[in-house]
């Protein structure tokens, strides 16, 4: 059924009790052409584009919990393509272009809102760095504008732009096409659209092992029985090492916890996304009115989807410094998600040395915005046994060659990316 104003009106007449389920949740079949492990946005998008772009519909998506229950449902939903390095710029800009038509494509309202993403600079060095990044973006055909303090004041009136604040603001870099989208809708929209094209979305199904024949993978063991497949794609974010350990494949990665939080809802007060690298903060206001914000990783290896207070305190201090008006708001929730922090801060989307096995991982804390392009390129790689031009650089092999894509230039320290 297509969602539209008419379906909404029709269902209103029956008190919204007769909506069809958005996806079917079938029992797993004994075998598929392709299995995707992980029902986050990346896995779901991959399944969708396999069906849509490559006509591969005999696909199962296996999720150990419920779809979107991982980082997809835990992130702060910021979408941007303001990257410096070419491979990143192309991948994330491809994603941005897909976002721009995605609600229509999926027939699902993703509440995609291009409200702009503003990075603040608090020092001369940061101003230089933002100019450099902005110039690189424009050379790659991505929108970027340098804002002076006056324009920032006009755009974000509640920001403390005074000279007395702890980190006085000197300017900023705006990507006008950046913004936010509703994260849960992204999972649900892709799941529904993939299901409509014949993909089996199978929840409560944890992959516990692989079936191998010679140098190939030919299936998986799961908590719901063994399932065969010709090709298997892994997209499990913070659990990548655990899944790849089942194949004795070492990963250039550490798992870390990243926290975020929301305040009680208030009237509209912030109509853009503001980030400050110096203060370790990014903040936006949800359509419900909650201020949504987060900052740095807790900073130590963790597989716990929860963090500790010192980082929360640090982030809240940053919010109050930059936006003194919010100091009396109450926090409603804090939570944490499990990040797949790669050694160079960039992702991996590639086939592996094991025939039939494909890897999508290393998204660090920036993978939500990549969801459409990641699925698009991963599906292409699985279908053609060769990468798309936009993921050709994101190999696992680069860590064996020392050819890194280190956006921040901080070296092999996953917690610093």
């Amino acid at each position: 059924m297509r969602y539209s104003i008419f379906s909404l009106a029709r269902n209103a007449l029956t008190n919204h009790e007769n909506w069809q389920e958005a996806w079917k949740s079938p029992e797993p079949k004994p075998s598929y052409d392709v299995i995707i492990i992980g029902g986050g946005g990346h896995g779901l998008a991959t399944a969708y584009y396999l069906a849509k772009n490559h006509n591969i519909t005999n696909v199962a998506l296996l999720e150990k919990g419920w779809i979107g229950g991982g980082n997809t449902g835990r992130n702060t939903t910021i979408i941007r393509s303001n990257y410096l390095l070419e491979p990143n710029a192309h991948l994330y800009e491809h994603s941005m272009k897909l976002w721009e038509g995605l609600s229509q494509d999926l027939n699902f309202n993703l509440m995609f809102s291009q409200r702009g993403v503003l990075n603040l600079a608090h020092s001369d060095a940061q101003i230089d760095a933002l100019h450099r990044r902005g110039n690189a973006m424009r050379l790659n055909g991505i929108d970027a504008e340098i804002l002076n303090l006056q324009r920032i004041k006009e755009m974000v009136p509640l920001l403390d732009t005074s000279a007395q604040t702890r980190f006085p603001i000197m300017g900023g870099l705006l990507q006008p096409r950046g913004g936010t989208a509703r994260h849960d809708s992204v999972a649900w929209g892709y799941a529904r659209a993939a299901d409509a094209r014949g993909v089996d979305i199978i929840e409560n199904c944890e992959v516990t092992g692989f079936k191998r024949e010679g140098g190939k993978v030919v299936g998986v063991e799961t908590t719901r029985g063994a399932i065969d497949a010709q090709k298997i794609g892994v997209a499990v974010a913070g659990n990548t090492t655990r899944v790849m350990d089942m194949l004795d494949m070492r990963m250039p990665m550490e798992s870390h916890v990243l926290q975020a939080m929301v305040t009680e809802p208030v009237k509209p007060m912030l109509d853009t996304v503001v980030t400050s690298g110096a203060a370790h903060l990014y903040i936006s206001q949800s359509d419900k009115g909650e201020l949504v914000f987060g900052g740095d990783l807790d900073g130590y290896n963790s597989y716990a989807q929860r963090g500790n207070f010192p980082v929360l305190e640090h982030i809240i201090q940053a919010v109050i410094t930059l936006f003194p008006a919010v100091s009396r708001l109450r926090l409603m929730r804090t939570w944490g998600g499990l990040m797949d922090m790669s050694m160079d801060g960039s992702p991996i989307i590639c086939k592996t040395d094991i025939q039939g096995l494909y890897l999508n991982a290393g998204w660090c804390y920036g993978g939500f915005k990549a969801t459409p392009a990641s699925g698009y390129c991963f599906a292409h790689t699985i279908a053609n046994d060769a990468p798309h031009e936009y993921n050709a650089a994101f190999t696992l092999d680069r860590f064996h060659q020392g050819w890194l894509i280190d956006e921040k230039g901080v070296g092999a320290s996953p917690m610093s990316h």
Binding site: E254, A304, P310, P414
Partner: protein, 96 residues
């Protein structure tokens, strides 16, 4: 808040410490190491989901680097030692 046991100072709040990472990786011998050994040392980690031996520096205390064994799934502390010491074996995971 993590409470980290510094062998020199006792239990202290995590905010007094700076984290470094996996303390089991061994720098290869520059005289003999192959390219593959170097790359593995720099870029690849076990990243276990459970007990993890890691470096912390007591940067706002005695400034010593120490080894801590911590369950990274539960945040439970399982022991600590001096940088060159070994964490006592008898400190296994406490019963659930």
């Amino acid at each position: 808040m993590l409470l980290i046991n510094c062998p020199h100072c006792g239990d202290r709040a995590q905010t007094e410490f700076t984290y470094r990472g996996d303390a089991t990786v061994q720098r290869p011998d520059p005289a003999t190491a192959s390219q593959a050994q170097w790359l593995d040392y720099i870029y690849f980690r076990d990243n276990p989901c459970g007990p993890h031996i890691e470096w912390w520096q007591h940067s706002a205390g005695c400034r010593q680097w120490i080894k801590v064994k911590r369950n990274v799934q539960t945040h439970e502390m399982l022991g600590s030692a001096d940088a060159t010491g070994e964490i006592a074996d008898e400190i296994e995971e406490a019963p659930a």
